[in-house]
Protein backbone atom coordinates (compact mmCIF):
# COMPACT_ATOMS: atom_id res chain seq x y z
CA UNK A 1 0.00 0.00 0.00
CA UNK A 2 2.76 2.39 0.95
CA UNK A 3 4.42 1.60 -2.35
CA UNK A 4 1.22 2.43 -4.23
CA UNK A 5 0.79 5.75 -2.45
CA UNK A 6 4.34 6.81 -3.27
CA UNK A 7 3.71 5.79 -6.84
CA UNK A 8 0.60 7.95 -7.03
CA UNK A 9 2.36 10.95 -5.52
CA UNK A 10 5.26 10.63 -7.90
CA UNK A 11 2.87 10.31 -10.81
CA UNK A 12 0.97 13.44 -9.76
CA UNK A 13 4.23 15.39 -9.47
CA UNK A 14 5.23 14.20 -12.94
CA UNK A 15 1.95 15.36 -14.42
CA UNK A 16 2.09 18.77 -12.73
CA UNK A 17 5.59 19.28 -13.97
CA UNK A 18 4.65 18.27 -17.49
CA UNK A 19 1.74 20.76 -17.52
CA UNK A 20 4.11 23.66 -16.98
CA UNK A 21 6.36 22.85 -19.92
CA UNK A 22 6.52 25.05 -23.04
CA UNK A 23 8.45 24.62 -26.28
CA UNK A 24 8.15 21.61 -28.57
CA UNK A 25 11.69 20.32 -28.12
CA UNK A 26 11.68 20.63 -24.36
CA UNK A 27 8.28 18.97 -24.28
CA UNK A 28 9.52 16.00 -26.29
CA UNK A 29 12.47 15.58 -23.99
CA UNK A 30 10.21 15.71 -21.00
CA UNK A 31 7.87 13.21 -22.56
CA UNK A 32 10.72 10.78 -23.04
CA UNK A 33 11.77 11.25 -19.47
CA UNK A 34 8.23 10.84 -18.24
CA UNK A 35 7.81 7.70 -20.24
CA UNK A 36 10.91 6.12 -18.77
CA UNK A 37 9.84 7.31 -15.34
CA UNK A 38 6.44 5.72 -15.82
CA UNK A 39 8.07 2.48 -16.88
CA UNK A 40 10.17 2.52 -13.73
CA UNK A 41 7.07 3.14 -11.64
CA UNK A 42 5.27 0.25 -13.28
CA UNK A 43 8.28 -1.92 -12.53
CA UNK A 44 8.16 -0.74 -8.89
CA UNK A 45 4.52 -1.70 -8.66
CA UNK A 46 5.22 -5.13 -10.08
CA UNK A 47 8.10 -5.63 -7.66
CA UNK A 48 5.97 -4.61 -4.71
CA UNK A 49 3.70 -7.51 -5.55
CA UNK A 50 6.52 -10.01 -5.02
CA UNK A 51 6.55 -9.79 -1.26
CA UNK A 52 8.65 -12.01 0.98
CA UNK A 53 5.76 -13.01 3.23
CA UNK A 54 2.28 -14.18 2.39
CA UNK A 55 -0.60 -14.95 4.67
CA UNK A 56 -3.69 -16.99 3.84
CA UNK A 57 -6.47 -18.44 5.91
CA UNK A 58 -9.44 -20.73 5.87
CA UNK A 59 -12.30 -21.64 8.11
CA UNK A 60 -15.23 -23.97 8.40
CA UNK A 61 -18.29 -23.86 10.53
CA UNK A 62 -21.44 -25.89 10.52
CA UNK A 63 -24.16 -27.72 12.30
CA UNK A 64 -24.47 -31.48 12.71
CA UNK A 65 -27.04 -33.69 14.32
CA UNK A 66 -27.81 -37.40 14.23
CA UNK A 67 -31.05 -39.35 14.58
CA UNK A 68 -29.61 -41.31 17.53
CA UNK A 69 -26.52 -41.61 19.73
CA UNK A 70 -24.66 -44.15 17.60
CA UNK A 71 -21.92 -41.56 17.19
CA UNK A 72 -20.99 -41.63 13.50
CA UNK A 73 -18.12 -39.09 13.18
CA UNK A 74 -18.75 -38.30 16.86
CA UNK A 75 -22.14 -36.82 16.05
CA UNK A 76 -25.10 -37.60 18.33
CA UNK A 77 -28.66 -36.44 18.99
CA UNK A 78 -27.19 -33.41 20.74
CA UNK A 79 -26.71 -30.99 17.88
CA UNK A 80 -23.19 -29.65 17.75
CA UNK A 81 -21.70 -26.56 16.18
CA UNK A 82 -18.33 -26.34 17.89
CA UNK A 83 -16.92 -29.63 16.63
CA UNK A 84 -17.74 -28.54 13.07
CA UNK A 85 -15.84 -25.28 13.45
CA UNK A 86 -12.21 -24.52 12.77
CA UNK A 87 -10.07 -21.57 11.77
CA UNK A 88 -6.59 -21.66 10.29
CA UNK A 89 -3.94 -19.13 9.42
CA UNK A 90 -1.07 -20.01 7.16
CA UNK A 91 2.02 -17.96 6.54
CA UNK A 92 4.79 -18.47 4.03
CA UNK A 93 8.16 -16.76 4.21
CA UNK A 94 10.26 -16.72 1.07
CA UNK A 95 13.81 -17.24 2.25
CA UNK A 96 15.06 -17.29 -1.33
CA UNK A 97 13.58 -17.97 -4.76
CA UNK A 98 13.78 -21.67 -4.03
CA UNK A 99 13.46 -21.89 -0.27
CA UNK A 100 10.34 -21.25 1.76
CA UNK A 101 9.23 -21.64 5.35
CA UNK A 102 5.55 -22.40 5.87
CA UNK A 103 3.48 -22.63 9.02
CA UNK A 104 -0.18 -23.27 9.63
CA UNK A 105 -1.89 -22.64 12.95
CA UNK A 106 -5.22 -24.33 13.29
CA UNK A 107 -7.78 -23.77 16.00
CA UNK A 108 -10.39 -26.45 16.29
CA UNK A 109 -13.53 -26.72 18.38
CA UNK A 110 -13.74 -29.86 20.50
CA UNK A 111 -17.00 -31.81 20.64
CA UNK A 112 -19.69 -30.54 23.00
CA UNK A 113 -19.44 -33.77 25.00
CA UNK A 114 -16.05 -32.63 26.30
CA UNK A 115 -17.69 -29.56 27.85
CA UNK A 116 -16.30 -26.13 28.66
CA UNK A 117 -15.08 -23.63 26.12
CA UNK A 118 -12.88 -26.20 24.48
CA UNK A 119 -10.80 -24.81 21.68
CA UNK A 120 -7.43 -26.14 20.81
CA UNK A 121 -4.88 -24.36 18.68
CA UNK A 122 -1.93 -26.21 17.32
CA UNK A 123 0.78 -26.06 14.74
CA UNK A 124 -0.71 -28.19 11.98
CA UNK A 125 2.08 -27.60 9.48
CA UNK A 126 5.52 -26.15 10.04
CA UNK A 127 8.20 -26.91 7.50
CA UNK A 128 10.97 -25.59 5.34
CA UNK A 129 10.88 -26.53 1.67
CA UNK A 130 13.55 -26.24 -0.95
CA UNK A 131 13.14 -26.67 -4.69
CA UNK A 132 16.30 -27.81 -6.39
CA UNK A 133 17.14 -26.95 -9.98
CA UNK A 134 16.74 -30.56 -11.08
CA UNK A 135 13.07 -30.54 -10.06
CA UNK A 136 13.44 -32.22 -6.67
CA UNK A 137 11.54 -30.64 -3.81
CA UNK A 138 12.75 -31.35 -0.28
CA UNK A 139 10.76 -30.58 2.83
CA UNK A 140 11.52 -31.01 6.51
CA UNK A 141 9.41 -30.31 9.57
CA UNK A 142 5.84 -31.06 10.51
CA UNK A 143 3.68 -32.03 7.55
CA UNK A 144 0.55 -33.90 6.58
CA UNK A 145 0.98 -37.67 6.24
CA UNK A 146 -0.02 -38.14 2.57
CA UNK A 147 -2.08 -41.30 2.99
CA UNK A 148 -5.23 -40.16 1.18
CA UNK A 149 -6.15 -38.23 -1.95
CA UNK A 150 -7.45 -35.35 0.16
CA UNK A 151 -4.81 -35.64 2.91
CA UNK A 152 -3.27 -32.32 1.97
CA UNK A 153 -6.63 -30.58 2.31
CA UNK A 154 -7.93 -32.64 5.23
CA UNK A 155 -9.04 -29.56 7.18
CA UNK A 156 -9.54 -27.38 4.12
CA UNK A 157 -13.19 -28.19 3.47
CA UNK A 158 -13.25 -25.60 0.70
CA UNK A 159 -11.00 -27.78 -1.48
CA UNK A 160 -13.15 -30.88 -0.97
CA UNK A 161 -16.25 -31.65 -3.00
CA UNK A 162 -18.04 -33.38 -0.09
CA UNK A 163 -19.29 -32.02 3.22
CA UNK A 164 -17.17 -34.53 5.17
CA UNK A 165 -14.43 -36.73 3.73
CA UNK A 166 -15.87 -40.30 3.88
CA UNK A 167 -15.11 -41.72 7.33
CA UNK A 168 -14.83 -45.30 6.07
CA UNK A 169 -11.52 -44.33 4.47
CA UNK A 170 -10.44 -41.15 6.26
CA UNK A 171 -10.76 -42.80 9.70
CA UNK A 172 -8.28 -45.54 8.81
CA UNK A 173 -5.38 -43.70 10.40
CA UNK A 174 -6.21 -40.97 12.88
CA UNK A 175 -2.67 -39.60 13.13
CA UNK A 176 -2.88 -37.14 10.25
CA UNK A 177 0.51 -35.47 10.42
CA UNK A 178 4.10 -36.48 10.95
CA UNK A 179 7.37 -34.82 11.80
CA UNK A 180 10.15 -35.73 9.44
CA UNK A 181 11.14 -35.15 5.85
CA UNK A 182 9.90 -35.82 2.35
CA UNK A 183 11.14 -35.60 -1.21
CA UNK A 184 8.89 -34.90 -4.19
CA UNK A 185 9.90 -35.38 -7.79
CA UNK A 186 7.90 -34.72 -10.95
CA UNK A 187 8.98 -36.31 -14.18
CA UNK A 188 7.59 -37.48 -17.51
CA UNK A 189 7.39 -41.09 -18.63
CA UNK A 190 6.53 -41.39 -22.31
CA UNK A 191 5.15 -37.86 -22.16
CA UNK A 192 2.98 -38.68 -19.13
CA UNK A 193 3.46 -36.57 -16.00
CA UNK A 194 4.31 -38.71 -12.96
CA UNK A 195 4.64 -37.33 -9.46
CA UNK A 196 6.46 -39.26 -6.79
CA UNK A 197 6.84 -38.52 -3.11
CA UNK A 198 8.71 -40.45 -0.45
CA UNK A 199 8.37 -39.57 3.22
CA UNK A 200 9.78 -40.65 6.56
CA UNK A 201 9.34 -39.54 10.13
CA UNK A 202 7.53 -39.96 13.40
CA UNK A 203 4.01 -39.27 14.61
CA UNK A 204 2.48 -39.22 18.05
CA UNK A 205 -0.73 -37.99 19.64
CA UNK A 206 -1.41 -38.68 23.30
CA UNK A 207 -4.71 -36.78 23.09
CA UNK A 208 -6.27 -39.48 20.94
CA UNK A 209 -8.29 -42.04 22.88
CA UNK A 210 -5.74 -44.59 24.04
CA UNK A 211 -2.77 -42.48 22.88
CA UNK A 212 -1.02 -43.53 19.68
CA UNK A 213 2.46 -43.42 18.25
CA UNK A 214 3.90 -44.31 14.84
CA UNK A 215 7.65 -44.77 14.77
CA UNK A 216 9.95 -44.99 11.76
CA UNK A 217 7.27 -44.11 9.24
CA UNK A 218 8.35 -44.81 5.67
CA UNK A 219 6.10 -44.40 2.70
CA UNK A 220 5.81 -43.56 -0.98
CA UNK A 221 3.15 -41.99 -3.19
CA UNK A 222 3.01 -42.24 -6.98
CA UNK A 223 0.42 -40.36 -8.97
CA UNK A 224 -0.38 -39.64 -12.59
CA UNK A 225 -2.85 -37.23 -14.12
CA UNK A 226 -3.93 -36.10 -17.56
CA UNK A 227 -6.18 -33.40 -16.01
CA UNK A 228 -9.24 -35.57 -16.61
CA UNK A 229 -8.14 -38.75 -14.90
CA UNK A 230 -5.97 -38.94 -11.80
CA UNK A 231 -4.61 -42.21 -10.45
CA UNK A 232 -2.79 -42.30 -7.11
CA UNK A 233 -1.17 -45.14 -5.24
CA UNK A 234 0.32 -45.06 -1.75
CA UNK A 235 2.11 -47.55 0.47
CA UNK A 236 3.45 -46.87 3.95
CA UNK A 237 4.63 -48.69 7.04
CA UNK A 238 5.38 -47.79 10.66
CA UNK A 239 5.96 -49.36 14.06
CA UNK A 240 2.64 -48.84 15.76
CA UNK A 241 2.10 -48.39 19.49
CA UNK A 242 -1.09 -47.71 21.41
CA UNK A 243 -0.89 -47.15 25.17
CA UNK A 244 -4.26 -48.55 26.03
CA UNK A 245 -6.43 -50.09 23.36
CA UNK A 246 -9.29 -50.37 25.84
CA UNK A 247 -9.20 -46.88 27.32
CA UNK A 248 -12.65 -45.76 28.42
CA UNK A 249 -13.82 -49.30 29.21
CA UNK A 250 -13.87 -51.21 32.49
CA UNK A 251 -11.46 -53.80 31.05
CA UNK A 252 -7.82 -53.88 32.19
CA UNK A 253 -5.26 -51.89 30.21
CA UNK A 254 -4.13 -53.44 26.94
CA UNK A 255 -1.04 -52.05 25.31
CA UNK A 256 0.26 -52.75 21.84
CA UNK A 257 3.89 -51.92 21.29
CA UNK A 258 5.88 -51.55 18.09
CA UNK A 259 3.63 -53.79 16.05
CA UNK A 260 4.37 -53.72 12.34
CA UNK A 261 1.71 -51.55 10.71
CA UNK A 262 1.15 -51.23 6.97
CA UNK A 263 -1.08 -49.04 4.91
CA UNK A 264 -2.02 -49.28 1.23
CA UNK A 265 -4.27 -46.99 -0.76
CA UNK A 266 -5.43 -46.61 -4.34
CA UNK A 267 -7.31 -43.53 -5.55
CA UNK A 268 -9.00 -42.67 -8.81
CA UNK A 269 -10.49 -39.36 -9.86
CA UNK A 270 -12.33 -38.33 -13.01
CA UNK A 271 -13.10 -34.68 -13.58
CA UNK A 272 -14.37 -33.57 -16.93
CA UNK A 273 -16.92 -30.89 -17.76
CA UNK A 274 -19.75 -31.18 -15.28
CA UNK A 275 -18.86 -34.60 -13.95
CA UNK A 276 -16.76 -35.41 -10.91
CA UNK A 277 -16.11 -38.98 -9.82
CA UNK A 278 -13.72 -39.88 -6.98
CA UNK A 279 -13.01 -43.23 -5.43
CA UNK A 280 -10.47 -44.54 -2.94
CA UNK A 281 -9.81 -47.95 -1.52
CA UNK A 282 -7.50 -48.39 1.47
CA UNK A 283 -6.21 -51.17 3.69
CA UNK A 284 -4.72 -50.82 7.16
CA UNK A 285 -2.91 -53.92 8.35
CA UNK A 286 -1.32 -54.15 11.79
CA UNK A 287 0.20 -57.24 13.38
CA UNK A 288 -1.39 -58.46 16.61
CA UNK A 289 -4.87 -57.72 17.89
CA UNK A 290 -5.24 -54.27 16.35
CA UNK A 291 -7.69 -54.80 13.48
CA UNK A 292 -6.84 -55.22 9.84
CA UNK A 293 -9.34 -52.87 8.23
CA UNK A 294 -10.43 -52.26 4.64
CA UNK A 295 -12.35 -49.18 3.61
CA UNK A 296 -13.53 -47.74 0.31
CA UNK A 297 -15.82 -45.09 -1.10
CA UNK A 298 -17.07 -43.79 -4.42
CA UNK A 299 -18.45 -40.28 -4.88
CA UNK A 300 -20.25 -39.07 -7.96
CA UNK A 301 -21.08 -35.39 -8.43
CA UNK A 302 -22.65 -33.36 -11.19
CA UNK A 303 -22.12 -29.60 -11.50
CA UNK A 304 -24.96 -27.32 -12.45
CA UNK A 305 -22.88 -24.12 -12.62
CA UNK A 306 -22.18 -23.33 -8.95
CA UNK A 307 -24.31 -26.08 -7.47
CA UNK A 308 -23.00 -29.63 -7.28
CA UNK A 309 -25.18 -32.41 -5.88
CA UNK A 310 -23.29 -35.60 -5.04
CA UNK A 311 -23.88 -39.14 -3.85
CA UNK A 312 -21.37 -41.26 -1.93
CA UNK A 313 -21.33 -44.93 -1.13
CA UNK A 314 -18.78 -46.04 1.45
CA UNK A 315 -17.93 -49.37 2.97
CA UNK A 316 -15.68 -50.50 5.79
CA UNK A 317 -14.94 -53.98 7.11
CA UNK A 318 -12.38 -55.50 9.47
CA UNK A 319 -10.80 -58.63 8.01
CA UNK A 320 -9.48 -60.47 11.07
CA UNK A 321 -12.50 -60.65 13.39
CA UNK A 322 -11.54 -64.20 14.43
CA UNK A 323 -8.64 -62.68 16.42
CA UNK A 324 -11.22 -60.90 18.57
CA UNK A 325 -14.10 -63.38 18.94
CA UNK A 326 -15.55 -61.89 22.12
CA UNK A 327 -14.91 -59.72 25.15
CA UNK A 328 -14.04 -56.04 25.05
CA UNK A 329 -11.76 -56.41 22.01
CA UNK A 330 -14.72 -57.58 19.90
CA UNK A 331 -15.85 -53.94 19.87
CA UNK A 332 -13.08 -53.38 17.31
CA UNK A 333 -14.79 -55.67 14.83
CA UNK A 334 -16.34 -53.39 12.30
CA UNK A 335 -18.64 -53.65 9.33
CA UNK A 336 -20.62 -50.74 7.99
CA UNK A 337 -22.11 -49.20 4.87
CA UNK A 338 -22.63 -45.43 4.54
CA UNK A 339 -24.87 -43.78 1.98
CA UNK A 340 -24.55 -40.03 1.57
CA UNK A 341 -26.57 -37.54 -0.40
CA UNK A 342 -25.29 -33.98 -0.42
CA UNK A 343 -24.83 -30.74 -2.25
CA UNK A 344 -22.09 -28.14 -2.53
CA UNK A 345 -23.01 -24.61 -3.51
CA UNK A 346 -20.24 -22.15 -4.42
CA UNK A 347 -22.16 -19.18 -3.09
CA UNK A 348 -19.45 -16.62 -3.85
CA UNK A 349 -15.72 -16.64 -4.57
CA UNK A 350 -14.01 -18.28 -1.60
CA UNK A 351 -17.19 -19.48 0.11
CA UNK A 352 -18.96 -22.81 -0.31
CA UNK A 353 -22.12 -23.92 1.49
CA UNK A 354 -22.74 -27.63 1.86
CA UNK A 355 -25.47 -29.90 3.09
CA UNK A 356 -25.25 -33.65 3.64
CA UNK A 357 -27.39 -36.53 4.79
CA UNK A 358 -25.52 -39.74 5.61
CA UNK A 359 -27.27 -42.99 6.41
CA UNK A 360 -25.21 -45.79 8.03
CA UNK A 361 -26.31 -49.40 8.32
CA UNK A 362 -25.36 -53.06 7.77
CA UNK A 363 -23.26 -53.51 10.92
CA UNK A 364 -23.77 -57.32 10.89
CA UNK A 365 -22.42 -58.88 14.09
CA UNK A 366 -20.16 -55.91 14.75
CA UNK A 367 -20.31 -52.56 16.50
CA UNK A 368 -20.13 -50.85 13.11
CA UNK A 369 -17.11 -48.99 14.46
CA UNK A 370 -19.46 -46.49 16.13
CA UNK A 371 -18.66 -45.20 19.61
CA UNK A 372 -22.26 -45.55 20.83
CA UNK A 373 -22.13 -49.28 20.07
CA UNK A 374 -18.53 -49.89 21.12
CA UNK A 375 -19.26 -49.20 24.79
CA UNK A 376 -22.16 -51.63 24.96
CA UNK A 377 -20.23 -54.14 22.85
CA UNK A 378 -17.27 -53.97 25.20
CA UNK A 379 -19.51 -54.91 28.12
CA UNK A 380 -21.05 -57.80 26.19
CA UNK A 381 -24.44 -56.18 25.70
CA UNK A 382 -24.21 -56.14 21.91
CA UNK A 383 -25.38 -53.31 19.66
CA UNK A 384 -27.62 -50.55 20.87
CA UNK A 385 -28.04 -49.14 17.37
CA UNK A 386 -28.43 -50.88 14.03
CA UNK A 387 -28.35 -47.71 11.93
CA UNK A 388 -27.91 -43.94 12.17
CA UNK A 389 -28.78 -40.85 10.13
CA UNK A 390 -26.47 -37.85 10.28
CA UNK A 391 -27.48 -34.40 9.01
CA UNK A 392 -24.83 -31.77 8.40
CA UNK A 393 -24.85 -28.16 7.22
CA UNK A 394 -21.48 -26.60 6.59
CA UNK A 395 -19.83 -23.39 5.48
CA UNK A 396 -16.29 -23.63 4.10
CA UNK A 397 -14.27 -20.55 3.29
CA UNK A 398 -10.75 -19.90 2.03
CA UNK A 399 -9.10 -16.49 1.88
Amino acid sequence: MKQLRTTKTRLAVCLLVSAGVTGAHAQEERLDRLESQLERLQQDMRDSRDTDFRINGFMSTGYARASNNAGYAGITEDSDVRSQTLFAVQGTFDLSDQTKATFQLLSRGKPKAEGGDNWETQLEWGYVSHKMNNGLRLRAGKMRTPLFMYSDSLDLGYAQPFTRAPNAVYDQVSLSSFTGADVTYNFDVLGQPIRTQVFTGHSENQDLVGGAELRNIAGAVVSWTDYTWTVRGVAARAETSIDNLLEGTAAPQLEIEDEDGKFYGLGLEYEQGNILAVSEITRRDTDGVFPERDGAYATLGYRFDDVMPYVTYAWVETQDDDKRPQGPLAAFNEKREDYSLGVRWDAMPGIALKADWTHSRAFGDTSGGLSGNATSFATGQGNRFDHTNVYTLKLDAAF
Binding site: E39, Q42, Q43, R46, R49, R54, N56, F58, A88, Q90, T92, K100, T102, Q104, W125, Y127, S129, R144, D152, S153, L156, Y158, A159, N186, P193, Y227, E271, Q272, G273, R303, D305, D306, D346, P349, G350, A352, A398
Partner: protein, 131 residues
Protein backbone atom coordinates in the same frame (compact mmCIF):
# COMPACT_ATOMS: atom_id res chain seq x y z
CA UNK B 1 -18.75 -30.39 -26.78
CA UNK B 2 -19.36 -30.09 -30.50
CA UNK B 3 -22.95 -29.02 -29.95
CA UNK B 4 -21.73 -26.44 -27.47
CA UNK B 5 -19.29 -25.02 -30.00
CA UNK B 6 -22.05 -24.89 -32.61
CA UNK B 7 -24.27 -22.99 -30.21
CA UNK B 8 -21.39 -20.67 -29.37
CA UNK B 9 -20.78 -20.15 -33.06
CA UNK B 10 -24.45 -19.47 -33.72
CA UNK B 11 -24.35 -16.96 -30.86
CA UNK B 12 -21.38 -15.28 -32.46
CA UNK B 13 -23.32 -14.67 -35.65
CA UNK B 14 -26.47 -13.59 -33.87
CA UNK B 15 -24.79 -11.09 -31.58
CA UNK B 16 -21.20 -10.48 -32.69
CA UNK B 17 -20.55 -7.94 -29.92
CA UNK B 18 -21.77 -9.98 -26.97
CA UNK B 19 -19.26 -12.82 -27.34
CA UNK B 20 -15.68 -12.10 -26.42
CA UNK B 21 -13.01 -13.84 -28.44
CA UNK B 22 -9.72 -14.81 -26.86
CA UNK B 23 -6.12 -15.35 -27.94
CA UNK B 24 -3.05 -16.33 -25.94
CA UNK B 25 -0.39 -13.63 -25.91
CA UNK B 26 3.23 -13.49 -24.81
CA UNK B 27 6.01 -10.97 -24.31
CA UNK B 28 7.63 -10.19 -27.70
CA UNK B 29 10.93 -11.82 -26.57
CA UNK B 30 9.15 -15.06 -25.73
CA UNK B 31 8.11 -17.56 -24.67
CA UNK B 32 6.91 -18.75 -28.04
CA UNK B 33 6.16 -22.14 -29.58
CA UNK B 34 3.85 -23.02 -26.72
CA UNK B 35 1.21 -25.69 -27.27
CA UNK B 36 -2.22 -25.59 -25.66
CA UNK B 37 -0.93 -28.17 -23.16
CA UNK B 38 2.09 -25.99 -22.32
CA UNK B 39 -0.20 -23.05 -21.62
CA UNK B 40 -2.48 -25.27 -19.54
CA UNK B 41 0.55 -26.41 -17.50
CA UNK B 42 1.44 -22.76 -16.82
CA UNK B 43 -2.07 -21.94 -15.64
CA UNK B 44 -2.49 -25.10 -13.52
CA UNK B 45 0.80 -24.76 -11.65
CA UNK B 46 2.60 -27.62 -13.39
CA UNK B 47 5.24 -25.53 -15.06
CA UNK B 48 7.33 -22.53 -14.09
CA UNK B 49 8.64 -21.96 -17.61
CA UNK B 50 6.96 -18.53 -17.83
CA UNK B 51 4.94 -16.11 -15.69
CA UNK B 52 1.22 -16.34 -16.36
CA UNK B 53 -1.23 -13.50 -15.72
CA UNK B 54 -4.93 -13.84 -15.11
CA UNK B 55 -7.78 -11.38 -15.70
CA UNK B 56 -9.88 -10.81 -12.56
CA UNK B 57 -12.87 -13.04 -12.06
CA UNK B 58 -16.10 -12.02 -13.78
CA UNK B 59 -14.49 -11.35 -17.15
CA UNK B 60 -15.95 -13.10 -20.16
CA UNK B 61 -12.50 -13.30 -21.78
CA UNK B 62 -11.26 -15.17 -18.70
CA UNK B 63 -14.17 -17.60 -18.77
CA UNK B 64 -13.59 -18.33 -22.46
CA UNK B 65 -9.88 -18.78 -21.99
CA UNK B 66 -10.42 -21.35 -19.25
CA UNK B 67 -13.11 -23.16 -21.16
CA UNK B 68 -10.64 -23.49 -24.01
CA UNK B 69 -7.35 -24.16 -22.17
CA UNK B 70 -7.92 -25.59 -18.68
CA UNK B 71 -11.54 -26.80 -18.92
CA UNK B 72 -12.09 -25.51 -15.37
CA UNK B 73 -14.90 -23.29 -14.12
CA UNK B 74 -14.28 -20.38 -11.74
CA UNK B 75 -15.37 -22.35 -8.70
CA UNK B 76 -13.19 -25.31 -9.70
CA UNK B 77 -10.21 -22.97 -10.12
CA UNK B 78 -10.91 -21.39 -6.72
CA UNK B 79 -10.86 -24.82 -5.04
CA UNK B 80 -7.76 -25.80 -6.97
CA UNK B 81 -5.81 -22.69 -5.95
CA UNK B 82 -6.95 -22.94 -2.34
CA UNK B 83 -5.48 -26.43 -2.26
CA UNK B 84 -2.26 -25.36 -4.00
CA UNK B 85 -1.87 -22.36 -1.67
CA UNK B 86 -2.40 -24.28 1.56
CA UNK B 87 -0.17 -27.16 0.58
CA UNK B 88 2.62 -24.72 -0.28
CA UNK B 89 2.61 -25.77 -3.93
CA UNK B 90 2.21 -22.25 -5.22
CA UNK B 91 0.16 -19.11 -5.56
CA UNK B 92 -2.40 -18.29 -8.26
CA UNK B 93 -1.21 -16.06 -11.12
CA UNK B 94 -1.25 -12.32 -10.46
CA UNK B 95 -4.48 -10.71 -11.67
CA UNK B 96 -5.01 -7.68 -13.89
CA UNK B 97 -8.20 -5.68 -14.25
CA UNK B 98 -9.21 -6.33 -17.84
CA UNK B 99 -8.12 -7.46 -21.28
CA UNK B 100 -6.47 -4.14 -22.22
CA UNK B 101 -4.44 -4.09 -18.98
CA UNK B 102 -3.45 -7.69 -19.63
CA UNK B 103 -1.80 -6.58 -22.89
CA UNK B 104 0.11 -3.82 -21.05
CA UNK B 105 1.19 -6.19 -18.29
CA UNK B 106 2.44 -8.91 -20.65
CA UNK B 107 4.21 -6.31 -22.82
CA UNK B 108 6.00 -4.99 -19.73
CA UNK B 109 6.94 -8.33 -18.14
CA UNK B 110 9.70 -10.37 -19.77
CA UNK B 111 8.92 -14.08 -20.16
CA UNK B 112 5.23 -13.71 -19.41
CA UNK B 113 2.07 -15.02 -20.99
CA UNK B 114 -1.52 -13.89 -20.86
CA UNK B 115 -4.69 -13.90 -22.85
CA UNK B 116 -6.77 -11.10 -24.30
CA UNK B 117 -9.59 -10.08 -26.53
CA UNK B 118 -7.98 -9.80 -30.03
CA UNK B 119 -9.49 -6.29 -30.26
CA UNK B 120 -7.16 -5.19 -27.43
CA UNK B 121 -4.02 -6.79 -28.85
CA UNK B 122 -1.41 -4.52 -30.46
CA UNK B 123 2.17 -5.18 -31.55
CA UNK B 124 3.57 -4.68 -28.04
CA UNK B 125 2.85 -8.39 -27.49
CA UNK B 126 2.94 -11.51 -29.58
CA UNK B 127 -0.09 -13.69 -30.28
CA UNK B 128 1.14 -17.25 -29.72
CA UNK B 129 -2.09 -19.29 -29.82
CA UNK B 130 -5.54 -18.84 -31.29
CA UNK B 131 -8.47 -21.23 -30.70
Amino acid sequence: MKTLRMIALAGLFAAPLSMADVVVIAHPDGPDNLSENDVRDLYLNRSNAATPFEIAEGSEVRAEFHEWITGRSNSQLQSFWAEQTFTGEGQPPAEVGDSARMVDEVAATPNSVGYADPADVDDSVEVILTP
